[in-house]
Amino acid sequence: MELWDLYLALFVSFFKIGLFGFGGGYAMLPLIQHEIVDHHQWISVSDFTDIVAISQTTPGPIAFNSATYIGYSAVTEMGFASVYGVIGSAICTFAVSIPSLILMTIVTAFFFRLKDNLWIQSALSVLKPAIIGLIASAALMLITPYNFIDYKSWIIFGAVLVASLRKADPILLIFLSGVIGLLLY
């Protein structure tokens, strides 16, 4: 694929992610996965999971992190030089932010009229529970044979789930799981 076609496709995908990514954070994952793993196949499920892991251990929003990472890796993996990857990275990060910029500019102008608007409240009454379903689907879509290779994977899953429900620090849990992976495999 030509470089410019790739840039355009990346831009469109991440603009879409920014525009339809309601709920922030994990709720945006199935949309990102649908676009870049299933549809365009720019990266594999396990690579995508690794990006989520990196996002869980670094402070920034997951949508930015995926945009920045995939912009770079999709371009360089097509055989283009690293500098074009940096440009791809900037394009994706920019693309994912534009819908927010446009919408928030409009919303700020009408702020107090929108706040108690019955139509918006009503749309949100279905959208909010739907977002919980999206987060659940993000988890389900990541349960693949590449990510869960054997019973040991499920033991790690169970242990981290229990520890996290007891408010253990996610960064510590990722770190410990990495150490366990190194020891077990």
């Binding site: 525009l19 690794d50 990196i54 929003p61 659940a136 899953f157 849990l173 990495g178 190194l182």
Partner: protein, 158 residues
């Protein structure tokens, strides 16, 4: 991240009042896109108009952009290294567990009850098993909410 934003915007800089911050947060969370970005854009716009939101937006994007770009440049080199691969074999199930863990409390705060539990269940199955794009899910949810209001209004008028 939200307590951090609140401390900076309300307590330290006094850009927004406490109540204004809570209202703004509700809006930022109901708009698409990362909540941190939406918050930054709102505050920037409030203080300096559109120009202000460009600066506050850049401010919230740049740190993670630089960090993740560096990680991407390094990580794409070492991704296939056997040691790195072993580490990530342990990490991947943990990633999924960290997504599952907050579901219950998030569900509660999103107002999921027995009555509307079907919504998240149908959504999760549709995206996971039928590979329906979340774009359509979001559009359908918004339309459903609006139709429900129209239905309620008609019933009241009768």
């Amino acid at each position: 991240m939200i307590p951090l934003i609140r401390n900076e915007v309300v307590n330290k800089k006094g850009w927004l009042g406490d109540e204004e911050f809570m209202d703004m947060l509700a809006i930022a969370q109901s708009m698409p896109g990362p909540i941190a970005l939406n918050t930054a854009l709102f505050v920037g716009n409030k203080r300096l108009g559109f120009k202000g939101s460009l600066f506050s937006g850049a401010g919230v994007i740049l740190p993670s952009f630089i960090v993740i770009l560096l990680i991407a440049m390094v990580f794409t080199q070492f991704k296939d290294n056997p040691v790195v691969e072993r580490i990530f074999k342990g990490i991947r199930p943990a990633v999924v567990a960290l997504i599952v863990a907050p579901l219950l409390s998030l569900g509660k705060s999103a107002g999921v009850k027995w009555k509307n539990l079907w919504i998240p269940v149908v959504v999760a199955l549709a995206v996971w098993q039928l590979h329906i794009s979340p774009v359509y899910i979001v559009l359908a949810a918004i339309l459903l909410g609006i139709f429900y209001l129209i239905y309620l209004k008609k019933r009241v008028n009768k």
